[in-house]
Amino acid sequence: MADVFMQSPEAAAKRIERAPLVTSNRSMAWITNHVASCTEKRAPLWWWIAFMLSASLATVSVLCIGYLISTGVGVWGLNHPVGWAWDITNFVFWIGIGHAGTLISAILFLTRQKWRTSINRAAEAMTLFAVVCAGIFPAVHVGRIWMVWFLAPVPNSNAIWQNFRSPLLWDVFAVSTYFTVSVLFWYTGLVPDLATLRDRAKTKLRRFFYGILALGWRGGNRQWKHYEMAYLILAGLSTPLVLSVHSVVSFDFATSVIPGWHTTIFPPYFVAGAIFGGFAMVLTIMLPARAIFGLHDLITDDHVDKMCKIILLTGSIVGYAYAMEFFIAWYGGNLFEQYAFINRATGPYWWAYWSMIFCNVVAPQLFWMRFFRRHVLWVFVVCMFVNAGMWFERFVIIVTSLHRDFLPSSWGMFYPTWVDIWTFVGTFGIFLSLFLVFIRWLPMICIFEVKAVLPEADPHHGDHDGHAAAPAAALKGGAH
C-alpha cells in the first residue's frame, strides 16, 4: 500500500485499476454465442455419460427412500439415544450448501459486487438443487411420512395446531420460504436470458418452450424498469433469508438442552459455516464446468481468488467458533458441557472431530497464499476438503452430542447402515442430475449481466472516440 502513495497519482491510478471482469477482450456477441450455444449444441457424449451415472445414483437414493418408507426408520442405523444421525446431518449439510447461491446473488448484488455476475446463475441453481436434496431428509426421516401434513397449519376438527414453539416447525417455514424466494429470484433473473434463447431458437419446440418460459420478454424499457425493481426487491427479501435460514436450522440444536447443542454461538457459527461450505461447493462444481465449457474468460481466476478469500474468511470464523465452544465449555463450569466437548475430541468419534478440524480449519489456511488461491487444482482439492469437513461438522455436532448426553446408562453408539450411506450418496446423484439438466437447457451464466460489466457497457465507454454509447439496457436485451 505504502508505495502507492509514494508514486505519482497517474502511476498509482494505473496500478490500482481493477482487473477486467471479463478477460481476453471478449465481445458481447461472443458472450451470447458462447453461453447460449452450450444449450443449443447436441449434448456431448460426456454429458450423457455423466447424466446416466448421476441419474443412476439418484435412483439408488430414491430406492433407498422407498425401502425406508415401506419398512421403517429402523433400516437406518438410528437408535436410542441417537435419534438423529445421517438424516439431519445430510439435511444441514445440503441446506448449508444452499447458502452460497443466494448470498452471491442477493448480498453481493446489493453491495454492488460486479464480479458476481458470471457466477451467480450457476450458484443460484446449485442453491436450489441443494435445497431440494436437503428437503428430502427431514421429510423422510420421520416415522410416519404419511402424516407429515400435520406440520402444515391445516384447520382440522380436533382443533390441534402446530407447536409454534418447536424449532422443527420453524425449520419447515424457514426452509420452504427460502426455497420459494430462491426459486422466484432465480427465475426472475433468468427471464431476459430465456428471451435470448427463444430468439435464437431454431426449432419450433425450443421456440415454444423458451417462449413460454420467457414470459413475453421483449426487452422494452418498461420491462427493464420492472425487472430491475423486481430483482432488487427479491434481492432485498433474500438477504435476510440467507442469514435466517441457517440460524433457524441451528435453533434445532441451540434451543435444546443437550450438552453440545445448547449453545448460543450456533446461529452465527452455522451461517458462517453455511457460506463457507456453500462457496466450496460452488467452486467444486464450477471449476470443472469452466474447464469443460471453456468459460475461463467469464469465470476468471480473479473470481476463483475472491471466492477463496471468502472461504478463508468464513473458515476462520468457523475455526474461531470451534475454539470458542471449548472455551465456553470450560468457562461455563458445567460438568456435562465439559464432558461433551472432551468427548468430541477424545471420545469414540475423535476421528470425525479431527477430520472436521483438519478439513475446515487447517486446509483452508493454504488460501492465505495467492499461489493456492489461483492454482485450480489446489483450489479444487481444498474445496473438496471443505465439503467433507462441513459434513463432518454436522455429524460431529449431531452424533457426538447425542450419543453421550446426561445419563451414562443411556450412552450408545451410532453405526450407519448401507441404507444410510446410499441414501446420502444418492443425493449427490440427484444434485448432479439436476445440475446437468440445468447446464443443458438453461444458460449457466447470466448473459445480460455479464455483458453489462463489459467496458463497452459503460455509457461513457469510448467517449474519447466521439462515439455515442448505446444505452446499456438496449445492449442487454438484444441478440448480438
Binding site: S70, G72, N163, T255, W330, G333, Y339, F406, S409
Partner: protein
C-alpha cells in the same frame, strides 16, 4: 368419514327456537345447520369439488402412489361385540380374581386382572399374610406364557398327533397294570409344589400302588437347606429368617433380596428396617459374601468376594469368631468339626463382621444361599443358634410334606430297569438334570414314558407320550405359600389349546371319575376347612385366594449339634479349588422354564445388563490373567465335561472363579428361546450342583456379540444416584439436595409463563434408592401393563429396546470390588418438559394434572423429543415391532404381518398398541388414573367432586415392587405417601440445573457401614467425597461469595 346427519325438519313455526334466524326460517340458518363447523370458515364448498371431495381425490392419488408401500397405513382394527356375554363382565371394566402361581419356594399369591374373560395382568394379593401386594419379574411375565403361541397344543404319541381319548385309554391301561403289581415300575417325576390336592391324590395313589416311586426334582431347589433343617431341628422343619426383627444380617452366597429366590415376606421384612426417613433413625446393616454381584450384594453395606467353595470355610472362620464372642460351646464344637478349607478372604473382614453380629444377640441372623450343601447350611444354623436367632430372627415351621425320592434315586432305578412307566409331570429333566445321570439316555430304557409339559421341549422329544400341560392360569389347583397357607389356583380362562393339568392325570390314574370344574380342589378343601358352612367358606377361599389359619405350625428351633456334625462327613474339602465355575439361577430365566418368554428374555440381567443371553462372568483380574475380553468365546471344562460360553468381565466378581447362569441354551423350546445363550447344565453334576471345581477355561478364538442395554458402567462423576452414610445423613441431612452442582445453582428465572397445573390431583412419584434392589419386577410389570413390545436380540444390540421403565446400574469405586447402584428410570414427567417444546406437531403435551402425555395418533415420529429428553426415556418404534416377526423386520412389506391371535389376547385393552414410526414412553399408567377418575366421578354423582375422596391409584411399577421402593400418588394431597416422602431431606431430583422440574424424584441411598470394617471409609461415597469438610451444603444458603462458588464448580 363422518357423515353429516340431516337435521330433522321442523313442522311449521317452531315452539322452541334456537335463534331469531330460525324463528324467521331464514335460509342462512339452514346453511348453518348443514355445515359441520358453523363458526369455521375453513370449508371450501364452491363449485364441483368441495374440500372433502378434494381431500378424497388427493387421498386416492396418494394411495395409488403408495401402492406396495403397505406399511404406510394406519392399522385397521375392528370392534366386534360378543355374541354371548362373559359372565359378570361389564364391557370396558376389569374383573379381578385371586389366584396363585405355584413355585418351588412357596406359592406366589396373586390377583389376576381379567378383561372380557382374558387375564392380562397379575398383581400380588395384598390380603395374603406374606404378600404386600408386590410380585416379582417371573410372576409378572408368567401371563405371557399363557398366551405363548409356541406352547404345545397337541397330545402326541410317538411323535404323532393323537387325541385325548387315546391318552385316557393309555392312562387307564397303566393304572390297571400297576394296580395288579402294586405299583412296581410306576414312577413319577414332579416339580416341587406344596399342593394339598396333589398330596391327597398322591396318598390315594400310594394306597393303590404301594410301591410307586415318587420323585421331586428342582434344579434350583433348596434341598441342602431342607436336609440340614431336618437333621438339625427335626424332620419337616422349615427354617425362615425373619428380617423384620434383624438389625444385622450376614448373607452368604444368598440373593435373598430377590423375591424370586426368597419370598416377598423376606424382602418386605428386610426393607422395613432398611427404609430410613428421618436423619439419625436406626437402620439395619447388611454383610454379604458372594461370588458374583447379586442385587443383594448391591444392597450390602459390606461385601466380600469369595469363591463358591469358600462359603463353608468362610462360615467356619466366621463361626469361630462368633463362638469366641458368645462362648457358645455347641458352635465351637461344630466349627471345630467342620472340615477346614482354603480361604483367601481377608481375615479382618470376617473377624470384624463376626464381632458385630455377635454384639447383637437375638437381633442378627446369618442366611446361606439355597445352592449351598447341607453341611454349610448346618454350620449356619449353628451360628444362628449361637447368635440367639432361634425364635427371633429365625423362625421355625413344622411342615407336613409327603416323602419324595431324589432324581438320583430315580436314575439308579431307571438304570436297573426298575421303572416301567415313568410320568414326567412338568419340569424338564433331559435339559436340567445333573449331567452325570445321563437322564436322556436312561429315558430310552423305560418302556413307557409320559410327559406333561407346557412346551414340546428337550424332554418331550425323548418321551413316547407328550401331553400339553395347562397353564396355572387355566387350571384348578392349590398350593401352599412359604408359610404354609393354602392358596387357591383358579383358572382365569378355559385352556386355550386343551391339555391337562398334573392333578387331572394323577386323578385319572387313581381311578377317580373325571373332575368337574374345581371338584378336585374342593374335595381337598373340605378336608382342611374347619367345618361350618362349606359353601360359604369355599366362596370366601376363592374370593380371598387363600384360607387363613392354614399356616404351618410354629416349631421351636432346638439345634442338635451332633446331627449337624454328622452332615459334615459329606462335605468334601477336596471338591474345591482351582478355577471354580458357579452355576447360578438366571434372574430372568430362572432354571430355564421361562426361556420362551420374550418379556423376560428382553429383561436385562441386573448386574450385567445383558439381554437374550447368559454369560460366563469373570472378574477383571482373572480376565486379565487369562487374557480375556468381554465377548470372547471360552470353553469351560471340568473333567470330561465341557461347555462353551461367551465371557463377560464382571466388576465385583470373585477372582479365580466363573459364574454362569443356568436356564439358557434351550433347544426345541419355542421360537423365542431357540439359540439363545449357553447351556451350563452339561457341566453340572450331582457332586457339584453349586459349582464345578478345578475347571479350566480356554479361549476358543471366536467372539460373541452381546445385546447389552447399558454399556457404560460409571456415573462419570455425575450425581445421578446419590448415596450417603447414616452418619453423613445425620450430620448433613440436606446432603442429597446439595450434592455437586446442585449446591451452586442460583434460582432459575423462567422466561415465559407455563400453562397452569391446576387440577386438584397432581401426580408424582418417588423412588427410594435405599430399598431398590434392581430386581426388575417393575420393569416387567410396566411391559405387561403397557403393551410394550419386544424387539429381539438384534434390535436390542442396536440400541432399540422399547422398555418404558429401565433399571440403570452403575458401579462406583474400585473396578475389582466396586459398589453397585440401582436406579429405576422412567419418564420423569418434567413440569417444564424439554420434549414438549420441541415437538412440531404438539403430539406430546402436558395435562393439567402434571402428566407429560403422548398423543400417538398425532405423532409423526421426528424423534426430536427423544433427542431432547435428558433422561432418554422415550422409545421409538423403529419397525412395526408389534406386527412383524422379529426375524423379518428388515423385509418391510414382504414380511408376514400380524400378531399371533393368542398374543393379541394378552394385550391390555386400555392401552393403545402402538404402530411403527411413533414415539412412546411412560405416562404414569394414565389408563389407571383415568379409570380412577371415572370411578371418582361416578361416586360423586351430582355432588361436588372435591368433597369425595379420589380413589387410590397405583402405577404398575409401584404395585409390583416387592420392596415398596416406588411410590406414586397425588403430590397435592399433603396426606399422601408420595407427598410426605417428597418432604424428606433425602429427596432430590436428577439434573436439577436443567430446571425441568421432574415429578419423579429419588430418595438418596443411605448406607450403614460398620466403621471398624476394612474399607469402611469407602462405603456410601459413590459420589465421591466433597472437597471441603461437611460438603457443599453448609454455606450456600448465602450466595454472598459467588466468585468462590464459581471456582469450585470448575473442579467438580
Amino acid at each position: 368419514m363422518k357423515r353429516v346427519l340431516p337435521h330433522p325438519e321442523r313442522e311449521g313455526r317452531p315452539a322452541l327456537w334456537r335463534s331469531l334466524d330460525e324463528l324467521a326460517a331464514k335460509p342462512e340458518f339452514n346453511d348453518l345447520l348443514e355445515r359441520e363447523f358453523p363458526q369455521g370458515a375453513a370449508e371450501w364448498q364452491g363449485g364441483e369439488i368441495s374440500r372433502r371431495n378434494f381431500l378424497q381425490l388427493m387421498g386416492a392419488s396418494m394411495a395409488l402412489a403408495g401402492v406396495g408401500l403397505t406399511g404406510c397405513r394406519r392399522p385397521e382394527a375392528y370392534l366386534v361385540p360378543f355374541t354371548s356375554g362373559v359372565e359378570w363382565t361389564i364391557p370396558g371394566k376389569f374383573l379381578f380374581y385371586a389366584t396363585t402361581q405355584p413355585r418351588r419356594n412357596g406359592a406366589m399369591p396373586l390377583i389376576a386382572t381379567t378383561s372380557d374373560g382374558r387375564p392380562t395382568k397379575l398383581e400380588g394379593n395384598p390380603l395374603h399374610p406374606i404378600s404386600n401386594g408386590g410380585t416379582d419379574a417371573f410372576a409378572q411375565a408368567s401371563v405371557l406364557d399363557l398366551y405363548d403361541p409356541n406352547r404345545s397344543k397337541d397330545i402326541k404319541s410317538g411323535g404323532a398327533r393323537t387325541d385325548a381319548a387315546a391318552f385316557a385309554a393309555k392312562l387307564d391301561a397303566i393304572s390297571a397294570a400297576s394296580a395288579s403289581n402294586g405299583g412296581d415300575g410306576l414312577a413319577f417325576l414332579v416339580e416341587r409344589v406344596d399342593s394339598p390336592t396333589r398330596d391327597r391324590l398322591l396318598a390315594q395313589l400310594r394306597e393303590k400302588f404301594p410301591r410307586l416311586l415318587w420323585v421331586e426334582y428342582e434344579p434350583l431347589g433348596a434341598s441342602g437347606a431342607e436336609a440340614a433343617a431336618a437333621a438339625c431341628f427335626g424332620a419337616g422343619t422349615v427354617v425362615t429368617p425373619d428380617f423384620s426383627r434383624a438389625d444385622k444380617v450376614l448373607a452368604v452366597d444368598s440373593d435373598f433380596l430377590n423375591a424370586s429366590f426368597s419370598g416377598l415376606d423376606q424382602v418386605r421384612g428386610f426393607m422395613a428396617r432398611r427404609r430410613i426417613s428421618e436423619p439419625g433413625q436406626p437402620m439395619n446393616r447388611l454383610y454379604v459374601a458372594e461370588t458374583r454381584f447379586t442385587g443383594t450384594g448391591g444392597m450390602a453395606d459390606h461385601r466380600l468376594r469369595i469363591k463358591p467353595s469358600e462359603a463353608g470355610p468362610f462360615l467356619r472362620a466366621f463361626g469361630r469368631e462368633v463362638a469366641a464372642r458368645t462362648g457358645d460351646a455347641d458352635l465351637a464344637a461344630t466349627v471345630a468339626a467342620f472340615p477346614e478349607g482354603k480361604l483367601s478372604a481377608d481375615e479382618a473382614w470376617i473377624v470384624t463382621c463376626g464381632k458385630d453380629l455377635a454384639a447383637s444377640p437375638g437381633q442378627s441372623v446369618v442366611v446361606v444361599g439355597d445352592s449351598q450343601p447341607a453341611a454349610v447350611q448346618a454350620l449356619a444354623f449353628a451360628i444362628n443358634n449361637a447368635l440367639g436367632a432361634g425364635g427371633k430372627t429365625l423362625r421355625g415351621l413344622q411342615a407336613a410334606r409327603p416323602a419324595a425320592a431324589t432324581i438320583t434315586e430315580l436314575a439308579s432305578a431307571m438304570e436297573a430297569g426298575r421303572v416301567q412307566n415313568l410320568f414326567i409331570l412338568g419340569g424338564n429333566p433331559v435339559y436340567n438334570a445333573p449331567a452325570d445321570l445321563r437322564f436322556g439316555d436312561l429315558l430310552g430304557g423305560v418302556p413307557a414314558t409320559v410327559r406333561l409339559g407346557l412346551y414340546e421341549d428337550e424332554t418331550s422329544a425323548l418321551c413316547q407320550w407328550h401331553v400339553p400341560q395347562t397353564h396355572y392360569l387355566e387350571s384348578w389347583g392349590d398350593a401352599r405359600s412359604a408359610d404354609g397357607t393354602i392358596c387357591a389356583v383358579q383358572p382365569m380362562i378355559l385352556p386355550l389349546w386343551g391339555g391337562m393339568s398334573e392333578l387331572e392325570i394323577l386323578n385319572r390314574l387313581a381311578g377317580n371319575p373325571e373332575p368337574v370344574g374345581p371338584q378336585l380342589v374342593r374335595e381337598t378343601f373340605a378336608t382342611v376347612a374347619d367345618g361350618g358352612d362349606l359353601e360359604a367358606q369355599w366362596t370366601e377361599f376363592l374370593r380371598k385366594g387363600f384360607l387363613p389359619g392354614t399356616t404351618w405350625t410354629e416349631a421351636s428351633l432346638n439345634f442338635n449339634p451332633a446331627a449337624a456334625i454328622a452332615l459334615f462327613a459329606n462335605q468334601n474339602a477336596a471338591n474345591a479349588g482351582g478355577l471354580e465355575v458357579a452355576f447360578t439361577p438366571s434372574s430372568t430365566m430362572d432354571d430355564g422354564r421361562y426361556a420362551n418368554n420374550g418379556w423376560l428374555q428382553e429383561t436385562p440381567d441386573f448386574a450385567t445388563k445383558v439381554t437374550w443371553d447368559n454369560a460366563a462372568l469373570v472378574s477383571p483380574a482373572t480376565a486379565k490373567s487369562l487374557g480375556l475380553a468381554t465377548g470372547d468365546m471360552v470353553q469351560l471344562s471340568a473333567g470330561e465335561r465341557k461347555i462353551e460360553a461367551a465371557a463377560i468381565i464382571a466388576p465385583g466378581h470373585a477372582d479365580d472363579a466363573v459364574s454362569i447362569a443356568l436356564g439358557y441354551g434351550r433347544r426345541n423350546a419355542g421360537k423365542i428361546s431357540e439359540g439363545v445363550g449357553f447351556n451350563a447344565y452339561p457341566l453340572r453334576t450331582t457332586g457339584g450342583m453349586a459349582f464345578a471345581a478345578n475347571a479350566s477355561l480356554k479361549r476358543t478364538g471366536a467372539t460373541h456379540k452381546f445385546a447389552e442395554t447399558q454399556s457404560h458402567q460409571s456415573m462419570e462423576g455425575r450425581d445421578l444416584v446419590r448415596e450417603g452414610t447414616m452418619e453423613r445423613y445425620a450430620e448433613d441431612p440436606e446432603f442429597a439436595q446439595t450434592m455437586g452442582m446442585d449446591g451452586h445453582i442460583p434460582p432459575n428465572i423462567s422466561l415465559f409463563t407455563h400453562p397452569k397445573l391446576d387440577s386438584p390431583e397432581q401426580w408424582g412419584m418417588t423412588v427410594d434408592l435405599s430399598t431398590c434392589t434392581g430386581c426388575n419386577a417393575c420393569v416387567v410389570a410396566c411391559q405387561a401393563e403397557n403393551n410394550v413390545p419386544i424387539v429381539g436380540k438384534d434390535q436390542v444390540s442396536r440400541g432399540r429396546n422399547m422398555a418404558w421403565l429401565r433399571m440403570d446400574r452403575y458401579f462406583a469405586g474400585d473396578e475389582e470390588d466396586p459398589e453397585m447402584l440401582a436406579q429405576a428410570i422412567m419418564c420423569q414427567h418434567c413440569e417444564n418438559a424439554p420434549c414438549e417444546t420441541v415437538c412440531p406437531v404438539n403430539a406430546t403435551v402436558h395435562s393439567e394434572d402434571g402428566i407429560n402425555l403422548m398423543a400417538y395418533n398425532r405423532c409423526i415420529g421426528t424423534r426430536y423429543c427423544a433427542n431432547n429428553c435428558p433422561w432418554k426415556v422415550r422409545r421409538f418404534n423403529f419397525f412395526d415391532y408389534n406386527q412383524r416377526p422379529l426375524d423379518e423386520l428388515y423385509l418391510g412389506p414382504l414380511a408376514k404381518k400380524g400378531m399371533a391371535e393368542s398374543l393379541q389376547m394378552s394385550k391390555n385393552p386400555n392401552v393403545t398398541v402402538r404402530m411403527r414410526g411413533v414415539m412412546e414412553k411412560c405416562m404414569y399408567c394414565i389408563q389407571r388414573i383415568e379409570e380412577a377418575k371415572i370411578t371418582h366421578a361416578v361416586k360423586a354423582g351430582p355432588t361436588d367432586k372435591s368433597k369425595v375422596s379420589f380413589p387410590e391409584v397405583k402405577s404398575a411399577c409401584q404395585q409390583a415392587c416387592p420392596s415398596e421402593s416406588i411410590v406414586f400418588g397425588n403430590i397435592n394431597d399433603p396426606q399422601s405417601r408420595v407427598a410426605r416422602l417428597k418432604l424428606e431431606p433425602r429427596n432430590y431430583s436428577m439434573l436439577k440445573y436443567l430446571n425441568v422440574s421432574p415429578r419423579t424424584t429419588y430418595l438418596a441411598r443411605i448406607k450403614n457401614p460398620n466403621m471398624a470394617m476394612p474399607g469402611a471409609d469407602k462405603v456410601g461415597w459413590a459420589n465421591g467425597h466433597p472437597h471441603h469438610g461437611g460438603g457443599h451444603g453448609e454455606d450456600h444458603g448465602s450466595h454472598g461469595a459467588p466468585a468462590e462458588h464459581a471456582t469450585e464448580a470448575h473442579g467438580t
